[in-house]
Amino acid sequence: MRHVLLIFSAIIGSQAVLNTGLQLKIDELFDTPGHTNNWAVLVCTSKFWFNYRHVSNVLALYHSIKRLGVPDSNIIMMLAEDVPCNSRNPRPGTVYAARAGANLYGSDVEVDYRGEEVTVENFIRILTGRHHPATPRSKRLLTDHQSNVLIYLTGHGGDSFMKFQDSEELTNVDLAYAVQTMFEDNRYHEMLVIADSCRSASMYEWIDSPNVLSLSSSLTHEESYSYDVDTDIGVYVIDRYTHYTVNFLNKEVKALNSSANMQDYIDSCPARKCLSNTGVRKDHYPKDVKRVRVTDFFGSSRIFQHLSEEIVLDDEFWA
């Protein structure tokens, strides 16, 4: 599996070499990214059928970043409720983010944590990488000091906490500690934390680790709102913030070499659309967001060095 990946990336890389002069000019507008691989942790924290929209949030984002080249093996997806095969679903096995949209739950979806496995403990374990030895590889976040990590949380939140499964809470302090641990273990190069919930700005309040850029769907005293309702199913199908995020990714970021920068992304959901002011926290992010490609986080450009030594795939790899 990994060899295939390497070969494939080699092809891409060779294409990247034959760039036009224009492309090179565009590159000057951006800082050269220091990362080699991209990872994403997409979490839908809320159980229950009527939280359909949170699942479709995650799935919509999942498809966008997959389209931009982040492979399944680098995406940890947590879905707290099995919405597609829920017996309440009039269209079994499918999830739609819009009334006339595409099915987000095709046969290519890989859910890593689902149902009761979506707990605060597991989430922290994923970030910090401290797992039960038996945990399979697909459930681990195997990042290194060269990975850009995207952490996306959606669900029901409150001031300085996020509800998991409607029963336990992930406080912003927990999140900050986890991120700090990741930094100390050298588990990321740059990190983008996105929280889409009510009062979500409070989630990144305590994050003080370097190279972390944090966004949120609403400020600490605000609610976030859902976008669309499907009257056949009888539930809201997507939240506003994520809706516009995915829109932005699909319209502006058509390919990996797109020139959209993070500032464009941050501006993509103004208050008149989101009905809430999106929060941004740049003070621990050294770069100028105007000079950072969106694809540094949402895509995987696979900038890679050639390996000199031979890789030995141990049994761990196959388990």
Partner: protein
């Protein structure tokens, strides 16, 4: 460090208690005024909470109903109307279910109560969700019947069955029960009994306990097959009306013994009616300011009706027995003028709502008083008036406590009277169950009849009459006037009565608030005044006689007469006009509901109401007691002292001995001498 814990060696009472005790004489008045204004504030819809709808019962408001088989409904209606005499409605329903290819069974049931001889046959069918594991189900109940509206409802429900069986999104199975209420005037009640029989078997109650349930009042067929736990149940009929083209849906929420349906279910249905069908909702058969904006309504009409219904109506509708089996039940009377399509779509939406509810409905929305379809008062607030009302009793009890001295003991009469009440209860229940409401007896005397053969003497009696005769006569008045209690143990007796009454009211208002608050409003003043110490004889005699008239049944009757506007909703006209009608009807219903449905009224009135009523005589009769006078004197001088001294408590000299320890011999003698004096005058 010095932790000062005992003022005056623990003999001094805190000043606050002193102040409260001073209020005792006017406590009753204060409490009444307080309770009145408090409840007037609380029960005004303006001050009540607005019904908030939690997210999952909001769902149905968003679903577009898709039912489109009104043709089938009409066609079935024709079939049912043209049903040959040879064929029963049960068979018809069975046929239709089997045509749909669904499971359907019948259940014959028969009451074992001699006083309530009923029998019938239910039909129940299942619609199983396609992709669920069958662990949960929702119950839908329709009453069989030959009236036009009944037939319409049956056929509409059947067409909904046809529609529902093809839908893929049912997370819960359906249990459709067509209950057989007979055709009598009390068909609703009988239908409730039939549903009781069904649920009794469905929940397998009798095989739960180790020994056989002795109060199994019904013999019924076992349930053929079962799907999962019942989440909620809805009874549908067409009792709604429409005024000037404005549809008004009639919703009944009251269960047995003051249980009520979860507020979320109610809210959801109100929302459906409002948003989808532009219909208004009437509760307790009453129009209120929301349903009908043309007329002016008193804001208190609905709350009072709610309380009245909760207090005195055991079986409001067929749904009332569901609460007994842990099923959230209510009756939805769809508007009679709904089209087939509209009414079945209503059913569809309600089912979608109950289908979407994910958990057991939240427990904090069971205890409320509805003011209209969007305002309610929750338990935290409405208990307040009751608490205020029982305060005087507690104060009085504490006051009496200060009189208790060493040689006062609990009179055994207390236990005796309660046992007597229990005996009456058991015998009445036994007679009603085994012999019947009206039972005949006949005895033979040897050789006294004509030509020397055995003469016979016989007659028939109504159990209600006997019950009234037995309980109405003031046994206590007789008992305690012949053998009065020892004066020293009167305070104990008072305390006992006061505590029993207040505890009963407390427990009652926790479970059945309506009953609790009405009981409090009536019983508290009686108990308070009757246990108050009385200085002279005439007063005692007078109040004892008054008490003799204030039998619980009498009170209920008078209450019912005084409030015709409310009581006529559950008292038939015929009984209301005759003066014996109301009490007899009350007793009859109480006994019947007690044995057939397990309502608590009869139990309470016989095992607590009657004994207390009799026990109070023991306190209302005696007068001019030594203990009272001593206590009063003692209080006066203490108050005088405290008035004299400036308020600092540290230095006031005081009697370390409690007032109770004054020897009781002297006052009794003085008591005698006083009496003689009075004779001399």
């Amino acid at each position: 460090m010095a932790l000062e814990i005992a003022k005056d060696g623990g003999l001094a009472r805190p000043k606050i208690l002193e102040r409260i005790l001073r209020l005792r004489k006017i406590a009753l008045v204060l409490a009444y005024i307080g309770a009145y204004f408090c409840s007037q504030y609380l029960f005004d819809p303006v001050n009540m909470e607005v019904t908030r709808i939690s997210e999952h019962s909001l769902m149905p408001g968003l679903v577009t109903p898709k039912f489109d088989k009104s043709g089938i409904a009409i066609q079935l209606y024709r079939r049912l109307t043209a049903l040959p005499k040879s064929k029963s409605q049960q068979e018809f329903v069975m046929d239709v279910f089997s045509e749909f290819g669904l499971q359907c069974f019948t259940q014959k049931w028969r009451s074992t109560i001699a006083g309530y001889p009923k029998r019938g046959e239910n039909v129940y069918g299942f619609v199983r969700g396609q992709r669920n594991d069958g662990a949960e189900a929702q119950l839908i109940v329709v009453q069989l019947g030959h009236s036009e509206s009944a037939r319409r409802m049956i056929t509409r429900m059947l067409s909904f069955v046809d529609y529902a069986k093809d839908q893929v999104y049912w997370a819960r199975d359906f249990v459709f029960v067509f209950v057989d209420g007979g055709h009598g005037p009390d068909s609703i009640e009988q239908a409730a009994f039939a549903l009781d029989a069904f649920l009794f078997k469905y929940q397998k109650i009798e095989s739960l306990t180790s020994k056989t349930r002795r109060n199994a009042t019904v013999v019924a067929d076992e349930i053929q097959t079962q799907t999962g736990a019942l989440i909620a149940g809805v009874v549908y009929d067409l009792s709604g009306i429409s005024v000037k083209g404005q549809h008004i849906i009639n919703i009944q929420t009251n269960g047995l013994n003051g249980q009520q349906v979860n507020l979320d279910v109610f809210n959801g249905i109100v929302k459906i009616a409002d948003s989808k069908h532009h219909s208004k909702v009437a509760i307790f058969g009453t129009l209120h300011r929301h349903t009908n904006s043309y007329m002016e309504y008193s804001p208190f009409t609905v709350p009072i009706k709610a309380l009245m219904t909760q207090a005195f109506v055991s079986i409001e509708g067929i749904h009332s027995v569901m609460g007994k089996y842990g099923v959230q039940g209510l009756t939805v009377g769809l508007s009679h003028d709904y089209t087939e399509r509209q009414s079945v779509q209503f059913v569809e939406e309600v089912s979608r709502m109950l289908n979407n509810v994910l958990e057991r409905l939240h427990q904090s929305y069971f205890m409320y008083v509805l003011a209209d379809d969007m305002h309610f008062l929750s338990i935290g607030f409405y208990l307040l008036p009751t608490f205020i009302l029982i305060c005087p009793l507690l104060i009085s009890a504490y006051y009496e406590w200060l009189k208790v001295d060493s040689n006062s003991e609990i009179p055994l009469a207390v236990i005796g009277i309660h046992l007597g009440g229990y005996a009456i209860y058991l015998t009445t229940q036994w007679i009603f169950t085994n012999i019947g409401e009206v039972f005949a007896f006949s005895t033979e005397f040897p050789f006294v009849g004509p030509d020397g053969c055995n003469g016979q003497f016989g007659g028939s009696m109504d159990i209600v009459i006997i019950y009234l005769a037995v309980t109405m006569l003031p046994l206590g008045l007789y008992m305690f006037s012949i053998h009065p209690l020892r004066p020293t143990s009167i305070p104990i007796m008072r305390i006992f009565i006061l505590l029993e009454v207040s505890i009963t009211i407390l427990c009652l208002s926790l479970i059945n608030f309506g009953l609790g608050v009405f009981t409090a409003a009536i019983v508290v003043p009686i108990t308070f005044l009757m246990t108050f110490e009385s200085p002279e004889k005439t007063r005692s005699l007078y109040r004892s006689l008054v008490l003799a008239l204030l039998h619980p049944i009498t009170i209920i009757t008078v209450l019912a007469w005084q409030t015709p506007g409310y009581s006529t909703t559950f008292i038939p006209k015929k009984e209301f006009d005759t003066w014996t009608g109301v009490p007899i009807m009350f007793i009859r219903n109480m006994i019947k509901n007690d044995t057939a449905f397990g309502s608590w009224h009869f139990y309470l009135i016989t095992i607590i109401g009657w004994p207390v009523w009799n026990m109070i005589f023991s306190c209302s009769l005696p007068y001019n007691l030594a203990v009272d006078r001593v206590a009063a004197k003692d209080r006066e001088e203490r108050e005088a002292r405290e008035a004299g001294e400036s308020g600092e408590e540290a230095t006031t000299p005081e009697d370390p001995h409690p007032p109770t320890s004054v020897p009781t011999a002297k006052p009794t003698t003085s008591n005698v001498s006083k009496r003689n004096k009075r004779k001399n005058h």
